[in-house]
Symmetry: C3
Subunit: 139 residues, 3 copies
């Protein structure tokens, strides 16, 4: 059986509006997967920024996102005595804790997200123009 050729990398453009925020990009990622038409494989969601990240979390109760941002701010306070001069070391560290990429299985052309899972872009040093890359590997 022949496999399909490489799929192109797609970019999702975002505009964040505050310093700390989460943006649900699930429907945008689903659109890319649908457009690429891959039946089975892995969908990678990739954040090319160092003061932001990606996570899978619940979106039915918006309080979960608030609690996540508030707890990250308690764990990594902005004024913790950092030496980096741009006043955003907290944002870099939160990015490393949350992580820069997600890998989600695809079956029958659809993302196999759990019932409560949504794909969140996490802004830690906004507002900014941001980009998320989506790459699908068939297999």
């Amino acid at each position: 059986m022949d496999m399909p050729g490489p799929t192109p990398i797609e970019a999702i453009d975002l505009k964040t509006t505050t310093r700390d925020e989460t943006i649900d990009i699930t429907s945008l990622v689903r659109q890319v997967v649908k457009k690429l038409g891959v039946d089975a494989g892995i969908c990678y969601v990739y954040c090319p920024h160092t003061t932001a990240g990606l996570t899978l979390q619940e979106n039915s109760d918006p309080d979960v996102k608030k609690d996540l941002l508030a707890q990250l701010a308690r764990m990594v306070p902005r004024d913790a005595g950092f030496v980096h001069s741009e006043d955003n070391s907290d944002a870099h560290i939160k990015g490393s804790l949350v992580g820069s990429s997600l890998s989600i299985p695809i079956e029958k052309g659809k993302l196999l997200l759990g019932t409560w899972q949504a794909v969140f872009f996490c802004e830690f040093d906004g507002p900014r123009s941001r980009k998320v890359l989506v790459k699908v590997i068939a297999g």
Copy 2:
């Protein structure tokens, strides 16, 4: 050279017995890899839940797992003043910190885990019935 076709996604069913616990699922993941018969590629282990996670850690000394759970509880206390009403925001946040998926290389049909590495499912809001998905990409 032709590549093999897509491999099916396999599910591992788990029952957790306490609120916080780690379960070593290494042998279950190895069984899936063996069953799928893929010689070279990547094995994805995926957690479709938002109050649990996956990590690679040492399993030779069980104290390491205890220390991990205890430290996560100190970093993300259950009573940190969260707004989400289900009393499990700590579990959601721990899930985002630990992460929802693992990618492990496969060579000669075997997981390339390091000497001390084991695959752990991390329960943060049990006891519950849980599922872990395993997807192998050949290549």
Copy 3:
């Protein structure tokens, strides 16, 4: 269209010189990608150790790396009262927080790192001889 066969797994050998340190391995990972000659796909960088990790972070200001290590030490103090007897539970926990693998898209034969992103090996229990595995999946 035929896809290329599996690519071999390449190992990068490292020597760390202190207990806590970050090593920029971006150019070493780029060399592997170039050598393998894969035009499009995903590059996995994998850490087979349980007291170390991998992260994508900024390398232009070395203070960011210092701030990251200092904050991780505040969040996971070495003397937090751990039970594991080897005096390195903090290192294990930091490894689980930072994560053991990275997935970076490849396009036109090149890693699609963001402008400020570099690949860092994070040593949490050195000095030691360490290894990082690189596996490329075409697609």
